[in-house]
Symmetry: C2
Subunit: 125 residues, 2 copies
DNA sequence: TCGAACCATCACATCGATGTGAAGGTCAAG
DNA sequence: CTTGACCTTCACATCGATGTGATGGTTCGA
């Protein structure tokens, strides 16, 4: 598919698809006329990238962890340098911290909403 | 305490403490000489703000959800406008989505690391 | 063949979070 | 009284993600 369809299916501006490519997050084939061409799995790939970006990870980190998320993973083992491993460990821990922080605060917001809505329902009866 | 101590204890640049105040995320008393003065709980408050920022929430959202996270919460019920409630519901759902995305990818990274380290340990023996 | 709807690259603008430095006030210790 | 370590405000710079528009090529249907 071309960039327009990918854009619609991932609800992502064309501009950003080109930007992600520039950052090495996604790749594209090129037709003879120079148009970008994407295969089907690219839809999920883009959605994953967007999710990670929305979760607060910068592109340069996403670029590093994406190769670990492909299957089969075995083929990626050889190129795991010690430096990259420690980067991943650090980022894994940072993600865990984020998850904890987000979960705590999400629960707090949720509890607040439950309380408010319960009161409101009781009040309008 | 003054801004320098708060900065050290929260590992946050003074510049950002002033910025958070400007954005309405934290408040400060003023000494007679104009210096900002913070009370003890502000340390946790700042850490919470930083956590939320790091988790990808923008200051304007943090500003909205922070009042819900204070205790006792009861006193905040009256000022819960319908519009604010729907904002909170939206944000709660967005946080849940983020948590899911982060968790999936954190687990994937984690599994990858486990596999790599297991192989490495096996190999060096 | 012409116009609409794609696509390309490039450049500049914006926005939020953050860095940095200037210019100056306050205060305690030497 | 001066020096140094704080503090103030203000402004401009940077950085990553994103918006927007200019300029021009390709394809397809009326």
């Amino acid at each position: 598919m071309r960039i327009g369809e990918l854009s619609e299916r991932t609800d992502t501006p064309r501009r950003l698809l080109r930007y992600y490519e520039e950052q090495g997050l996604i790749i594209s084939e090129r037709c003879t006329n120079g148009y970008r061409s994407y295969d089907e799995p690219m839809v999920d790939r883009v959605l994953q990238v967007r999710g990670l970006l929305d979760a607060g990870l910068p592109t340069r980190i996403i670029k590093q962890i994406l190769p670990c998320l492909d299957k089969p993973r075995a083929i990626h083992f050889p190129d795991a340098t010690p430096e990259m491993i420690s980067t991943l460990e650090l980022e894994r821990d940072r993600m865990t911290t984020r998850i904890g922080c987000l979960t705590r605060n999400r629960n707090a917001v949720s509890e607040y909403l439950d309380a408010v809505l319960t009161l409101r329902d009781a009040g309008e009866r």
